[in-house]
Symmetry: C2
């Protein structure tokens, strides 16, 4: 082998690879030693890095020294068991290895023909997951009918893809072919006022416009009010608009609220709207029978998505999306230039996943889902889910029992939202002081115009002790803040 | 540590990780032993996999046995030095390790605050790459002005993002806010008839419609004809349309043609169009001074993109996009819900990359670019590029010298397109027979209505011997085909 054959010899790759695996194992073991959130100031990492790429080769050992010295201070430790901010983003060890295999094989999965195993393992993983979550059989490839699933990068891309498919369904393909400027009837989309920002982003991206997104009122639990939705749909239809897309959320970002899909589905049917379900964060809970109450009405949804890269433990990115009729998505996305034509595609007997999303190229992402299932097993995943829900129940009890604090939303699963009765400013200062200890991360949201702290349980290694210590810290900090 | 603390113990992770690194090193060493293209029939991999996820835990050794037995037969070996199909997709060893570190750290880079190192290393890598490619300084973050770059997943997503920014610029934000159905003036986009299918996909996705994409005629070299573009622009403007976006390609997918950006830029300026440059495949060549002829006119481009995940060796996905004025993109993409608000963002002094693309969540992707630069060095990358161009020159000489074959397009870099004079059917049969040997992969395209074989050099390990053997095989197969 000459030096031109590869960027590293097999022996160099082995040595550096083992060292890196060891570094990661060490990092995971000592992750609690670092301040959970980074204390970097803007520009400080940038300044620590040379301004030009090196001309000459170097080695991985030197890079790992720089990771320790220059990058770690700028890392927010999402893999820490004291991570309670935003959402859990579990990059579990088995899935880290599955993704490493994906890079090692280095295949492109844009067409079935460009690596059949990439497409077929993904199909199988999506079918496994339908069963594991107790979703309707009609979403499986191996059931009769046009259902099936795909791994998208994020739930944002998934909702964009579904919205485009819905737009084409509503306009009989005119938007794709002629453009929306030829449409005199405005298309209108609906989501609750608590829905994720990606819904508005999608409405903008696909040319519908923010003005044509209706944010439906929520009830005291922050869930969409079907009566309010019904009223809006009727008003819009009467005003000559065309309702085309309803996005329901199972577990909103701010407070984890669940929209009543079963009550909303008949309204979608009445108005001929695409019904999308975004279960990005809490879909994972459906691994367990006792949380499948969230599936009420799901058999009527046109599309259902969740992110295994959040709670479930698949390293980012892995967002699963299923469609009741995948052909609607494929038809809205497919363009076949000559350079992609091949016998397998023309046989009609294969899935070409490039037609299921914006991107053409794609990684072998199902490997990281496969490794997770194989190494941990469904029983192990269910145990993790149940543990986190139980821990959160304890936390909720502590919040409710603590003078000065109030829970501001139901916490059926693993997100507890609370505030201090002394007001928004005090609540904010308490959160920032707790974060400043370096021992935990918390983030905030707004509920009814009030500043609210979110305590998101779900990092794989989080135990009752971590949460107990975290809550004690908040209470202690609150005493300092309110007495000063 | 209890079994709940992590999906694997550090010791289990170390052991399995080392085994997997060794497996990848072994796979890369024996990659030439496999048929380059998969011989799987549709459904065969699917059938080899159980229909349900396991309940109980397993180990990585078992998975690797299944990879060998069930997945490898379904792999098309993109990392083989005999890969000449589509485009090279080099997943170099250093970048495999960089991406492994990304999974190991498991951070989310959506905001600067969610891991400052993720944002700032990416900014630095984008600046390094501007210099490495000899692109204009105004695209660097560390130059005065509003320029900067971002890693997108694919060039498809990059062109969609730029098209949306251009749409908002042309409509003064009305498309985002009111929707395109409020626009009576159709927006019109332009690309050559040889441009990538992602341009049409973007035009559809963002509501412009295929009808409003003009495919400009090309010259004898398959490059866009500026005179034809000028005529179309004038006609559309006269007809009351609004030209808003011109996509030029440096290295088209079919034949590697280069549009004359310098001649097109004044037309873009005259009509107030956004000028995008898609150099997805061949941008890498600009690492070398002698191929920077492709930069003529680049200082006038609004956006410029290329894919380090193709020839350059960064494991998929890594598509770099620079903007002359990044604020136009950010303004068209940004939505700030309360749950993402933070002090750093509000200071205005940081980059939040979530506003640079469709997705909210994002991996620490710059690590794989950093590892590549650090381990190989620019000198090593340039040597690889030069070697592949030299090899292709030899190949072109052989094609031109061989009776019965003709080169159908210029091959200034590493893509040679040829056909057999006996016609399309014979050309197709020759390609399929060469692929059927299992010793190489070739794909095809259409040029002037004729079936043409593409021989894409650029896999990292490809040497002159591999290409010589490949060409001999084609010639030998052609003799069999034409004599039978």
């Amino acid at each position: 082998m000459t030096s031109l054959d590869a960027a590293m010899t097999p022996e160099e790759f082995r040595r550096a690879g083992h060292a890196l695996i060891d570094w990661i194992a060490s990092y995971r073991s000592r992750v609690e030693e670092f301040p959970v959130l980074s204390r970097s100031t803007p520009g400080s990492i940038l300044e620590s890095l040379p301004s030009s790429a090196p001309d000459l080769p170097g080695d991985v050992a030197e890079i790992l020294e720089d990771v320790e010295a220059h990058l770690l201070p700028g890392i927010a430790h999402w893999q820490s068991p004291n991570w309670f901010g935003y959402f859990p983003s579990n990059s579990s060890e088995p899935s880290v290895l599955g993704d490493l295999l994906s890079s090692g094989l280095g295949v492109q999965g844009m067409l079935w023909a460009t690596s059949p195993a990439c497409t077929e393992l993904e199909m199988r993983m999506l079918d496994w997951t339908v069963e594991a979550l107790g979703l309707p059989d009609h979403l499986r490839f191996d059931s009769p009918g046009p259902g099936g699933g795909v791994i998208q990068d994020t739930a944002s891309s998934a909702v964009l893809a579904c919205m485009v498919a819905a737009r084409e369904q509503a306009t009989c393909g005119v938007a794709n072919s002629q453009g929306l400027s030829q449409e005199s009837t405005p298309l209108v989309a609906y989501a609750s006022s608590q829905a994720h920002s990606s819904i508005e982003k999608s409405v903008r991206l696909c040319g519908i416009g923010s003005r044509n997104l209706r944010l439906v009122e929520t009830d005291q639990n922050m869930a969409m009010q079907p009566e309010a939705l019904a009223r809006m749909l009727d008003e819009d239809a009467a005003a000559g608009c065309r309702p085309f897309f309803i996005c329901t959320t199972l577990g909103t970002t701010a407070t984890g609220a669940f929209d009543p899909v079963a009550d909303i589905a008949p309204l979608a049917a009445k108005h001929g709207c695409w019904l999308h379900v975004d279960a990005a964060m809490f879909g994972t809970a459906a691994l367990c029978d006792e949380y499948r109450w969230m599936h009420a009405g799901v058999e009527q949804a046109d599309s259902w998505s969740f992110n295994p890269h959040k709670w479930m433990g698949v390293t980012f990115d892995c967002s699963c999306l299923w469609l009741k009729d995948a052909s609607l998505l494929v038809e809205s996305m497919s363009i076949m230039p000559e350079y992609l034509r091949n016998a397998a595609t023309e046989s009609g007997g294969v899935v070409d996943y490039r037609d299921w999303h914006v991107q053409l190229g794609r990684r072998f992402r199902s490997l990281k889902l496969w490794f997770l299932y194989r190494v941990v097993g469904l029983a192990g995943l269910r145990a993790m889910v149940r543990r986190h829900v139980e821990i959160t129940r304890e936390l909720v009890g502590w919040i409710e029992a603590e003078d000065g604090f109030e829970l501001v939303a139901p916490a059926p699963l693993t997100l507890a939202c609370f505030r201090h009765e002394a007001g928004d400013e005090v609540t904010r200062v308490i959160m920032e002081a707790a974060n400043a200890t370096g021992s935990m991360s918390l983030t905030h949201c707004e509920v009814d115009g009030r500043y609210v702290v979110r305590f998101a349980v779900g990092q794989w290694g989080t135990t009752l002790d971590h949460v107990r210590e975290g809550w004690k810290r908040i209470v202690s900090v609150a005493k300092d803040v309110t007495s000063s």
